[in-house]
Amino acid sequence: MSMMKLSFLNFKASFKNYLSLIISLSFTVLILLNFQNIIYSDTFDTLGQMNTRNIRIIIDCVTIVLICFMIFFIWYSTNVFLAKRKKEIGIYIFMGLTHSKIGKLYMIETSLIGLTALIIGLIFGIVTSQLFQMILVAVSQISVELHFSWTIKPIIFTVVVYLAIYFIFVIKGYINIVSSSVLDMVTAAKQNEYVKQNKYILLVKAILGITILISGYYMAIKDAGIEVMGNLFIAVVLVIIGVYLLFGGFIPLLFQTLARNKMFLYKHERNLWINNVVFRIKKNYRTYAIVCVLMLCSVTALGSGFAMKNRYEGIVHFRNTYTFQCTSNQADLNEKLRSLIEQDNDIEYGNYLPILNIDTSLIDTLYKNNTYMFVSYSNLKRIAKESNLEFNFPRLKDNEIINVTQLHIMSFANKENITRTIDKKEYKQIAETAIPYLGRFQEKLEFFLVSDDTYQSLKSKGNEIYCYNYKIKDNTNFKASIDELDTIVSETENNYTSYLAVDPSSSDIEWIKIMYSVCIFMFMVFILASGSIIFMKLYNDAFEDKGRYDVLKKLGISKQKLKKSIAHELLFAYLTPFIVMTVSSYFSILALSKVMETNLIFVNIVSVFIIFIVFGLCYSFSIKIYQKNASI
């Protein structure tokens, strides 16, 4: 029999076993192809150069992440192929084949699997590409005309990337075979090295892991703002290392201790599944850690997406009130500004008011980096009338405040009747409003509306600045006034003035919407990937366990008990990464909230809930498959 024919027969026989791996490989090909197709298609050209460029940057980033995924999946799959084949390979060696011939056999076989996955991925990728673009455009809520176009470039890119990675790992497998001893190969299928690990090493790992994880959390939420990006980077690294050590140290230690406590162990089905967990953890802990980090990425991706969308909507919401907004420490600029603007434009309405900036150290808040401004009731009422904005709050009592705020994406906490402490005095927040009284400023700064008397009493605690707002009749002509306004900007110590011009018709930020839908998409990819990684792991473990369950059945252990034990074991596999992720996500989302200056706790809860549902489905499906593979 020729080499080719033998490997083809092997491939055919094992196709069903590897189906889950082939599907995941095809899936990565499909996704990569779809994203590449966006770059090369002219769908987004109509959005203008700026948007196209930004979309391209986003997709480039996504591509890098997807390639990392692909590397991981291919690495994992080829490892599974290698481990599964190694024992049979050992038999070939006994039959007298040389190492290099067997290596070739493995290479041909694995390449066949890889090519199958590639072809399936490409076919489905091409079929679904238009659908993918349609969904992307629909979720982004942007209006571009979709036309069906196809170029060969994205296909070439995908194929080259995939084959290059695949080839590297196949070569790695080949070298592994050629350089391994016969004994290794024969015993590869049943190595028992994964039993108990040294208690003290585990203890050190566990303590290190928890310490590093907690310091990672601390770094993430310690400070906020763009300027502490370095901290966040350190936090990310610490959390990843911490998660690894947690799964490599703390969890094995916990389960080994449980297994040693026979009073605990000899109850229900624990003797079976806890021992199984201990037995497997050394081999599987990396998988759990990777899944945990992946899920953390997915939650953060979704959070970023929503924060982006929030930012976008905020910009749109707040930019229509005023065209020009100035701040200054001078109280008498109104006439001057009006005359400057009126040189080229007609003012539709305008107003000015004093606002009071109070240092965050006097305010009880989580977001110490935000800037808090106070406005008096009568001033805000006046400018609302001048800007034709609705204003129907009752006159405030001295201990009442109203939060004049940015848009919240999804706010579920009751913002009424909460108490805020400002300079050791308590105020009752009776309402919250996102009506854009203060235009763009409201999006960046946090405003509190207080009674006139309270404003006067707070005046000594902060510094007062003046805010001038103008809306012109012809928005499109706003650029004409810019040169005049530039003359007023000053930045000296006792005299500063700055201004902000808003182009309400600009579509420069359409790409943020794409960013948003890409983030949602990445969220789903990450979740599917994490679910399928655990799923594949368990799928393979089940085959290994078949013999053990046969023994147990012979001993007369009822199927019901075995099923229960399996359910517990699999629950561990899904639940532990989920719990670690849930805790970590709270901190990552909090850090993101601080950077993006928006509250994302709701996104956190929703995304954890979605992962919970997806994992629940994977879990119940895994149980079915596991029982089937272990033939119970």
Binding site: K262, Y266, K267, E269, N276, V551, L555, G556, S558, K559
Partner: protein, 253 residues
């Protein structure tokens, strides 16, 4: 001898193959096992030893005949009850030990009991007691791969005994052991039979192993050819078994 019947086999017939091409493997076996019996079943390859053991241990179903175990006909019981019987009434010792490599010896021994809902203190107590008796006390914390074949088989015997079964089925228990370990194990089994009043049915092709039993049944061509009973001396019994083997003229191994 005790008069309490543990297993009563009547006219046991087993056919293999589909209609028209049937081979009769067991051709009507009658056998009654009383409490505290130690029976060895010997026979050449293909004589039906394994089939008989499989049917007795409820893994296989007979074509005809009844097997009464503890007052119930196990050939007519549903699957769920069968596994209960396997768990509570029968203990198994296999040729290849079948200890789970995922857990320590102690957990292996305690496994049937702990999965049975027996209180944890009782599990621990019984495990230690048995381990002491079988000289495994120092090895309880070890994993099967750290144990010798003899230790593993003794562990497996502990596991078979822990749920106080009505009868123990041993399938070639010494098949994978060297002669020293075999002797140790057989001594253990004999001791269990004497001290614990345990009932043992052992299938073997080895006359030396069989000579440890009280009675030896020779199975040939699906029928029980003859029964030998032990006198006073084991050596003399061994010689008689060998003579019988020679007279039957077939190779048992």
């Amino acid at each position: 001898m005790n008069d309490k019947k543990v297993v009563e086999i009547k006219n046991l017939v087993k056919n293999y193959g589909s209609r028209g091409f049937q081979t009769r493997v067991l051709k009507g076996i009658d056998l009654t096992i009383y409490e505290n019996d130690f029976i060895a079943i010997m026979g050449p390859s293909g004589s039906g030893k394994t089939t008989l053991l499989n049917i007795l241990s409820t893994i296989d179903k007979p074509t005809q005949g009844t097997i009464i175990l503890d007052g119930k006909d196990i050939t007519k019981i549903k699957n769920r009850e069968l596994s209960k019987i396997r768990q509570n009434k029968i203990g198994f010792i296999f040729q290849d030990y079948n200890l789970l490599d995922t857990m320590t010896l102690q957990d292996n021994i305690a496994l049937p009991l702990s999965l049975n809902g027996v209180s944890n203190t009782k599990c621990i107590e019984k495990t230690l007691l048995l381990a002491k008796e079988f000289g495994l006390k120092e090895h309880l914390k070890k994993y099967p791969y750290q144990l010798s074949g003899g230790q593993k088989q003794r562990g497996a015997t502990c596991r078979a005994l822990i749920s106080d079964p009505e009868i123990i089925f041993a399938d070639e228990p010494t098949g994978a052991l060297d002669s020293k370990s075999s002797r140790d194990l057989l001594e253990c089994l004999k001791n269990v039979n004497d001290a614990h009043q345990a009932t043992i049915l052992m299938v073997t092709h080895d006359a030396f192993s069989a000579s440890y039993a009280k009675d030896v049944y020779i199975l040939s061509d699906g029928m029980i050819k003859c029964k030998l009973s032990k006198g006073k001396d084991r050596k003399e019994f061994y010689d008689r078994i060998i003579d019988m083997q020679v007279s039957l003229g077939s190779d048992f191994s």
